[in-house]
Symmetry: C2
Subunit: 162 residues, 2 copies
DNA sequence: GCATATAACTTCAATTATTGAAGTAACCAG
DNA sequence: CTGGTTACTTCAATAATTGAAGTTATATGC
């Protein structure tokens, strides 16, 4: 039967996962943000089957994460680029990479990439900061609070761990 | 045919996605980190079909993200908890939530939750910081650099955007 | 004693999705 | 006119997901 949709769940994580699509999608997005843009390059880099790649790219276009750009006429050829919405997913990939490196998810033992400061080469990681001031806040000092669109169920769950 | 495995790709993102499993897994992890732990609660909260939930939980246990804990004998009943490895995925979910809220992925218009500082109630977001000092660094000042385990292909790609 | 309830699943057949292999379309180069 | 490039599509086989219903072991109410 048809895979269930998350839509209607009133959850931004569920919505995000729905827009992204599946496990291949974040790899496609990873490659696009690394500078790849052509169908065949994406295929070679990810190893994704041709039919699946075509389907994923279509989905990502509909979701507004990727756009198709004609880069030559005769013969007509299109490439794929991240939209601003797609670029904005970078934190998801950084978080996945950090976690994957920390727990050796690739099984290879050594990280293949690392994020560093352009100016001094020092390693960078994701952390919670005050949205206004940019000051770092340790995770223990953070709390998830019900927002304007919270359901009663969500509200009850969040109150439990105040 | 059998869905392709990412293993062997030498990429921590691919590895992480493989360990996590699929789109349901992050919702399960979201609920576990919110305090749910019982099979039926997870089912009710996510709407995931029973058979699929059982399969996902098994996979997450094998991946070391979730553990099964007996909480009563007679009748024997187990609940599910995040391991430290599982808890450590929090940044992925925070990043997904931020993105989902920013682009209204749920289609609801209003965020259901928000991360705030316990001490002053101010909103928190994920940002890049110096791993050693905790000082925030703007994204434009960051660079992805080849790590010790990088393949030649990766190295070439990264050099292109120096 | 017996029906009902609870919790955590399992089983099943039907339906979709994914896959690898092969093929297509539109051109260009020699 | 043969071969190469790029971006796919088509196909049949296989695998995964689904909703509905059933299972197991026990407790609870009457």
């Amino acid at each position: 039967m048809k895979p269930k949709s998350f839509i209607g769940m009133r959850c931004s994580i569920a919505g995000a996962l729905e827009l992204i699509g599946d496990r291949w999608a974040l790899l496609i997005i990873r490659d696009l943000s690394l500078g790849l843009s052509r169908y065949d390059d994406l295929r070679a880099s990810t190893g994704i089957p041709a039919a699946t790649l075509a389907a994923r790219l279509k989905h990502l276009c509909v979701s507004g994460i990727v756009e198709r750009v004609r880069y030559q006429e005769r013969p007509a050829r299109d490439e794929y680029r991240l939209t601003p919405k797609g670029h904005d997913l970078w934190k998801v990939n950084v978080a996945l990479r950090e976690w994957g490196d920390r727990w050796d998810a690739s099984g290879f033992g050594q990280p293949t990439t690392e994020m560093v400061d352009r100016q001094n080469g020092r390693p960078l990681i994701l952390a919670l900061v005050d949205a206004a001031t940019g000051e770092a806040v340790p995770r223990e000092r953070s709390r998830l609070r019900a927002g304007p669109g919270a359901t009663d169920t969500t509200r009850r769950l969040l109150e439990a761990d105040m």
